[in-house]
């Protein structure tokens, strides 16, 4: 990270600055048009009013935000979304770390195969992923049959439409991002550090807590944020694998937008979602910089 920062500072003369902006201009314009304008439109919409017989009427009101932040149902939705995202992020990061740590120690063909497996979830669409898990979790699904076949269960088990299924599905989708974030940091660590730690008398467990974890905590924090942010915004997976009671912000936006045709309220929920995600990202950034002193 230090290297990139150093490189960016090199040759920052007045001429290179203007040239840099010039070169960046197309990309910035693209982002402004594709992301900036809709976001501004969304924010504007969130201050409008919802008439009983239409989608919105122009206004400047805080009514929608008051609803989102005081209505118990809305608050429960926010709470549930944050909770599911935190649980998913924790599981995803743990799983990714274990898998990345394993891949880190491999060479040659096996490593390539493992990397391909890790990329798997990114190669299929979210819908295919959902269909796959829907065939895995129900009482007539693969999981149920395997458990009976191996003798681990006596009766058929249904996990479809449970929080577990939702969390598994969400973790599966966000796993590749976390995995590659963590693996890239592991790849930058000299394996001799672990050998040296053992050599100096540390057991593998102490080596993990004293060397490996401190060196990867930055990566784990950004992987966690990634998974959290990703999960916060996902709507289909939670809906298709989770129970009806799993009412997430994504689902609520959809419901307000399409069923109740309350565009201003849907926009306000969306803005709150964006704000939560932004805060999470900023907090992770801040934590990393605070902890990363001295050895970044």
């Amino acid at each position: 990270m230090t290297d990139i920062a150093t490189v960016a500072h090199v040759g920052r003369g007045p001429r290179t600055v203007s040239l840099r902006w010039l070169l960046l201009a197309p990309a910035i314009m693209f982002i402004a048009i594709v992301f900036g304008l809709p976001l501004m439109y969304l924010v504007r919409m969130s201050f409008n009013l919802h008439p009983p017989d239409g989608t919105y009427v122009e206004a400047w009101t805080l009514k929608n935000y008051i609803t989102v932040l005081t209505n118990p149902l809305q608050l429960a939705t926010i709470g549930m979304t944050v909770y599911i995202s935190l649980v998913t992020a924790a599981i995803t990061v743990t799983g990714s770390f274990i898998f990345a740590h394993f891949v880190w120690g491999q060479k040659g063909k096996l490593r390539t195969v493992l990397l391909a497996i890790a990329l798997g979830p990114m190669l299929v669409s979210e819908i295919s992923v959902i269909i796959g898990w829907r065939m895995f979790f129900p009482s007539n699904g693969l999981l149920s049959y395997s458990l009976i076949w191996t003798g681990l269960a006596d009766e058929k088990i249904n996990l479809l439409a449970t929080q577990t299924a939702a969390v598994v599905g969400l973790s599966y989708i966000s796993m590749p991002y976390c995995f590659f974030t963590i693996l890239s940091v592991l790849n930058g660590i000299d394996r001799n550090l672990l050998t040296a730690s053992g050599d100096l008398g540390a057991s593998p467990v102490r080596t993990f807590f004293r060397v490996l974890l401190p060196l990867t905590k930055g990566a784990l924090a950004s992987a966690f944020t990634q998974a959290f942010v990703f999960t916060m915004g996902i709507y289909a997976t939670t809906n298709a694998l989770g129970p009806d009671s799993l009412w997430t912000m994504g689902y609520e936006i959809q419901r307000q937008m399409l069923s109740r045709r309350d565009w201003p309220l849907a926009s306000a929920i969306a803005v709150v979602l964006v704000v939560i995600i932004t805060l999470a990202a900023l907090m992770a950034q801040w934590l990393r910089h605070r902890k990363g002193r001295g050895h970044a």
């Binding site: 000299d190 001799n192 550090l193 053992g198 050599d199 100096l200 102490r206 060397v211 060196l215």
Partner: protein
């Protein structure tokens, strides 16, 4: 009284290849022993077996008379100084040096004075609060040295600790290690492919080739009485010629059976007339200026010879010269 380190018939295989081939080795208390050999000769593997970073396939390893070949690295009383230094980047110099003491359960109150004393010994006392990224390669290796020495292990292992440094730093750190060995008196097994390093540091050198120790002895023994061709050619510069009936050269004593003659370039000189016991007529092929001296390359009987001369040779390439040497300086090995 048993040796500090004792290896008996130690074998390590990787797949079909034998990395370490039934090695026997004993290192005494306070001794500085170097494993010297080309890359792939098994010297680093031997070191890893001693340190517990690899498991032998056969044989036993004892430290102070206790078998350790079934113990993991963290339960052996050895500490390694790695080629990369392997300092923990998230810890300061002081924390790095304290690491081994903490892991070995040394009382907290004793740690800080020991760390301070050891950093003073390696002349890094002013760097306690620095992180590894804020130091040069040579400084990092000094800290790595302190980190290993501070726990006072039975044996210090060195895995080519200077090969990543530039020449000047290497020579400086080399004399530093020599000084520390004299002052502290640790027992060391040092791995290197650099013969000058081995010569300068070691009480004894074990020359390794193809997984075996081919000769073990003091630096002087190794250099002056090499037991075979490999040692002769690996340690120090050398020239060689096949000697048979057809060879055109003047020898005071001609060997009876076909032999190969080995000579050190430092023993060769240009001679006039018959002013030497032994000489050969050679055609000069090239003269290099090496700064302060000239290296003369020549060819005789289809073999290449070279030697250094402080004065610029008057004869240029393609002239035929006489190169002479003393009988005592010649070494013969049977033609293999």
């Amino acid at each position: 009284m048993s040796s500090t380190l004792q290896l008996r018939r130690v074998v390590k295989r990787y797949g079909d290849s034998v990395a370490v081939d039934a090695i026997d080795l004993a290192v005494e208390q306070g001794e500085f022993l170097t494993l010297l050999g080309p890359s792939g000769c098994g010297k680093t593997t031997t070191l890893r077996l001693i340190g517990g970073m690899d498991w032998p396939d056969a044989g036993t390893i004892e430290i102070n008379g206790v078998r350790v070949d079934n113990l993991p690295s963290h339960k052996r009383d050895t500490v390694t100084v790695f080629q990369s230094g392997a300092l923990f980047p998230h810890l300061t110099v002081a924390e790095n040096v304290a690491y081994g003491l903490k892991m070995r359960g040394v009382p907290r109150a004793d740690i800080s004075p020991r760390v301070k004393r050891m950093l003073d010994v390696v002349r890094m006392g002013a760097f306690v609060g620095r992180y590894p990224a804020e130091m040069s390669g040579g400084q990092r290796q000094r800290v790595a040295l302190a980190r290993a020495m501070v726990v006072e292990p039975s044996i210090l292992l060195f895995d080519e600790p200077m090969s990543a440094l530039d020449l000047k730093m290497r020579i400086e750190l080399r004399s530093e290690i020599r000084r520390l060995h004299e002052e502290v008196g640790f027992t060391a097994v040092f791995v290197t492919h650099d013969q000058s390093e081995a010569m300068a540091l070691s009480d004894r050198i074990a020359v390794m080739n193809k997984g075996k120790i081919v000769q073990i002895g003091t630096p002087i023994e190794i250099f002056e009485r090499p037991s075979n061709e490999f040692v002769y050619t690996f340690v120090g510069e050398s020239c060689s010629m096949n000697i048979d009936e057809q060879s055109e050269l003047h020898l005071s004593q001609r060997p009876t059976s076909p032999q190969r003659l080995y000579l050190r370039p430092s023993h060769l000189r240009l001679v006039n007339g018959s002013g030497a016991e032994n000489f050969v007529a050679a055609r000069v092929t090239d003269i290099e200026y090496l700064g302060g001296m000239y290296r003369v390359h020549a060819e005789a009987n289809g073999c290449r010879l070279f030697f250094d001369s402080t004065e610029a040779p008057e004869l240029g390439p393609n002239h035929v010269v006489k190169i002479g040497w003393n009988s005592d300086d010649a070494t013969y090995f049977p033609v293999s």
